[in-house]
Symmetry: C2
């Protein structure tokens, strides 16, 4: 049975050396989030992840969620685990204390979310969707809605869902048809939604559905969509439950992975219309969604990292145990971890995991800065970084995550194909991450058109410039390791800059070129910015080594892993640049009927 042990030491290192956690804990309102608190939270969360959630991962996959007599039955142990996580206050970890949250930094929250997702992705989605629903209410709801729903969701008493997709409206939410007809202080909602994660279950007495729908006189397209709260049970002012609302789970999807997460087809209004309450103003639903989506996309980006980490732990344990052939230059009876190609695979995993973690935590640190920095300029700068980095954390993180779960299978040889081993589940589960909350293609377009072209490359230049400055700083550090890191990062930075220049040059005149190049640009930026974090990690490790601060083997491993990334991963940047420059026109020019 595959186990999971939260990589607390790596997480703490990334928080300290990369996310600059000291500066986060110094932000107004986070003064109590000291390192003592961080250590206690990581340790405690690590225990919940490894002892409570991870053991349910394989059994949940085998059993799955089922629709029985109109009710969704979750897997054995799910309800008990949910109650324990709720009771632990984990759902409101970085939530607003006004509504019962613990007010801890999002930076720390990112590490904890990584743990839940690595331990049991299917289980963790319930919390992720509830978080999304809470965000929507917190940002756009009325004071009454906030007071009513948020404390109940923060404590886990009620869960939340996001009802966006319809059969004809997936990536294109403008095509939504679900209708909302005003009736007194509420609306009547009618329509069908698909792909609704935890759309129904019996773990809590109520479920708060956030639903996108159109009012009768709404304009066509994206500007005519409104957002509604549609609870499963209508509730009285004191929170006690009233009538069952007119909505139901029609069916559950048979999926490739995350079997224990019920993916529901939801029908609203079969009997006259479900009661829904408008959130914010009419026709601004999609705008609200997009603001909120940054966080949801970031969390899915963490899933790429989390699945890769889980797959890595499993593959490494197998490689250290399995004996098969004498490794070249090794002893008879030595395990396969000694084979150079197995080592290559494990290093592809380890190094890219650390790069993803570094970039994700840096992005999370910007969330705290954007929310709390004293200076408005700092807040705005942090917000701009978040918006630039989010599609990269999501798109690059999940694409690489899927690739690494495949490498995890490969390390196992034939045993990787046997479900009992567990490696195959990570391969199946992770496959959704490049799709939901916006496909990689959508992330790439978001990055290129909204985040690079819209501001004339200003933020892109800043981010790339920071990496360039850091590479230049590495010069006086000396030593062969840092010469290698510097050369690779400089090369990557040049490729990133050249690709950005190409986008800007082509952009206005010819958006088809940038659209065709978008995916390659997304991958290039992830590779280079991940490499920037790897070089930062190496330098921090070297300084700690010099100061005799910390576990020397651990710190030397950071430097060696950064070197591997520099020589084995960073060359991807030049390839992506070549494909962008020389390849985009061959995509644009390929006539559809030639497929």
């Amino acid at each position: 049975m595959p186990s999971y042990s939260a990589p607390v030491k790596d997480m703490r290192f990334a928080l300290e050396a990369l996310a600059d956690y000291d500066s986060i804990a110094a932000l107004p309102g986070l003064e109590e989030a000291t390192w003592d608190v961080v250590d206690a939270v990581l340790e405690e969360a690590g225990k919940v992840a490894s002892d409570l959630l991870a053991p349910l991962n394989a059994s949940g996959d085998a059993e799955g969620a089922r629709l029985v007599d109109g009710k969704v039955r979750v897997a054995a142990g799910w309800k008990e685990a949910y109650d324990e996580v709720s009771a632990g206050g984990w759902l409101g970890l970085s939530g607003d204390p006004e509504y019962g949250g613990q007010g801890l930094p999002s930076t720390l929250g990112a590490a904890v979310t990584e743990m839940w997702q690595a331990a049991n992705l299917a289980f963790s989605l319930n919390g992720l969707l509830t978080q999304g629903a809470m965000d929507a209410i917190e940002r756009n709801g009325s004071p009454q809605q906030k007071e009513f729903y948020l404390p109940r969701m923060m404590t886990g008493e009620w869960t939340g869902t996001m009802n966006l997709t319809e059969p004809q409206a997936g990536s294109d939410l403008a095509a939504i048809r679900t209708r909302a007809v005003p009736e007194g202080d509420h609306y009547r909602i009618t329509g069908q939604k698909i792909f609704i994660t935890y759309g129904d279950h019996e773990m809590t007495e109520n479920i708060v559905h956030l639903v996108l729908a159109r009012t009768p006189d709404a304009p066509e397209g994206v500007k005519g969509i409104s957002l509604f709260v549609v609870p499963k049970f209508l509730a009285n002012a004191d929170g006690s439950l009233g009538e069952r609302n007119d909505l139901r789970c029609v069916s559950l999807e048979e999926k490739l992975g995350i079997h224990a997460s019920p993916t529901a087809v939801m029908s609203f209004g079969d009997n006259g219309g479900a009661v829904g309450y408008l959130v914010g103003e009419e026709n601004r639903g999609l705008e609200y969604m997009f603001v909120m989506m940054n966080r949801a996309r970031f969390d899915v980006g963490l899933q790429g990292l989390a699945m890769a980490e889980r797959a890595y732990q499993q593959a490494l344990a197998y490689a250290r145990d399995r004996v098969q052939g004498k490794p070249l230059g090794g002893q008879p009876g030595a395990a396969i971890v000694g084979h150079p190609d197995v080592r290559r695979m494990l290093l592809m995993m380890k190094s890219q995991i650390e790069a993803m973690r570094g970039l994700a935590y840096v992005c999370a640190a910007n969330m705290d800065r954007a929310a709390r920095a004293a200076d408005p300029g700092d807040r705005a700068a942090a917000q701009a970084r978040i918006e630039f980095l989010t599609p990269i954390v999501k798109g690059w993180g999940t694409e690489v995550g899927v690739e690494l779960t495949s490498v995890g299978v490969q390390v196992h040889g034939g045993m990787g194909f046997i479900e009992e081993t567990g490696a195959a589940q990570f391969y199946r589960d992770s496959r959704i991450t490049t799709i939901y909350e916006g496909t990689s293609g959508i992330q790439a377009n978001d990055l290129v058109f909204r985040k690079v072209l819209r501001d004339g490359g200003r933020v892109a230049r800043d981010v790339i410039g920071a990496a360039r400055d850091f590479a230049n700083e590495l010069a006086p550090t000396g030593g062969e390791d840092f010469a290698t890191l510097r050369a690779a990062l400089t090369d990557g930075v040049e490729a990133a800059q050249a690709a950005t220049d190409w986008l800007l040059e082509r952009g206005a005149a010819d958006p088809l070129g940038p659209a065709a190049a978008a995916y390659s640009y997304l991958r290039l930026m992830g590779t280079v910015l991940g490499g920037h974090q790897m070089a930062r990690a190496a330098l921090a490790a070297a300084r700690k080594l010099q100061d005799g601060d910390g576990d020397a083997d651990f710190l030397r491993a950071k430097i060696a892993t950064a070197r591997f990334y520099a020589s084995n991963v960073m060359p991807e940047a030049r390839m992506r640049l070549a494909v962008i420059r020389d390849g985009a026109d061959d995509i644009v020019g390929f006539s559809e009927d030639r497929f």
Copy 2:
């Protein structure tokens, strides 16, 4: 329900323009394999694939093979389909007419095998393993064994299996423990074998197991393994069945994919020892296996191509049908195939599929030359090419195949994750192809150590030289298309040559470097040699266009697809070279305890 249509036009083009089928049909003994025969075979096989086998693919996956009361029950329709394929004479398509085969070229056989595998991989494996068992008997068996077994297997009356793997002996067959004790004219076999494809079933009255085992006085390691025929039922001289042999299927594996292909744990000799007959001489079993394995590895390489083709057909149909958002520069209501990033994904599939098909069919053509060319020098040269190309066709073809089935899922967006759509099955099924018949790491080591270093790079130089010569030939062809193709191929050839030189330089002194670089070298060679075939295809298409010979749209698509490959895929070659040169030492130098 996903359907499959054999890409007969593409296959015929690859046979003619790339595999130089005219020269194959001119070989001694193949005079009757004219183009009329080829066309008839492709058409008829295409019908069997699309009408008989493809419709059983999804149902077979859902039902799977089961062990019920000690008997393996295959999926519904399996037995009937098997009988029809047998009756059609398809199992002996390129088999020796002396034993009931049709004696058609392996080159044509490759195209037909691609069809079976694309239509229904799980079904096709039965024939593949039977072919392997036939090869072992044909090459190494006694005249009596050949006469007795081959006609019965060629007609499909009996099937065959390969019993190699044991729990402690997977990639390392030297660790085999199954014992064979001589007793009169036969041996008594005792031991357990795992991962035995179609190890048991009731579709035929008998199964011919080929089993690797050790005799009591055998030397240790690889030189002490012998090969035995161990039939499920002992047979009388007239072929009528006698006693049940002492072997049984203990259990079937629960796998990630190919659910309808029973993967058995086989126990031999629970009641005193199964009767087995020695094939060839004692202690030469592994040597026989390795000779035979070239063919089996080649066939698995075709699976990478076949799965990718199947996934492509499915993704293309979906992309042409699904409407979601207005494509940039397109019309409202246009399907997603118009989105540049969807087009990029489809082109990644189409172009690499054509490259894989080209290289695989060229390799198959060498099989016919090696077997039949009049001149012994020609035969030897062809054999050397086969040995060089086989690990590339297998390793590169399946790695790319797995990646492309993932792209196929991605094209579907959320629907790709729903099992009903079918895209997920190809993703699951294909995942075994980089593992069985030697993992990609093993293919890479085979290529580097046995195929490049052992002969001092002689064959590698020839193969790369042919690509270089071709690139130079492209010069006078003129036009922008061919200037692009020439530049990309030249660049790839230089990278391949530089990587080969690096291997040769490091090889003798320091095999750890080449071992660490082997996977990257495998991918580099696949990319470049596949690109060579794409450029050849483009030139052949241009000539046909000039001559007004054939469908102009089809021929222009060949040129446009080759261009896409040149600009979007070929840049991988330089990346791999950089990783080989600069990255190998960082793998070798990474200490195991730092993971």
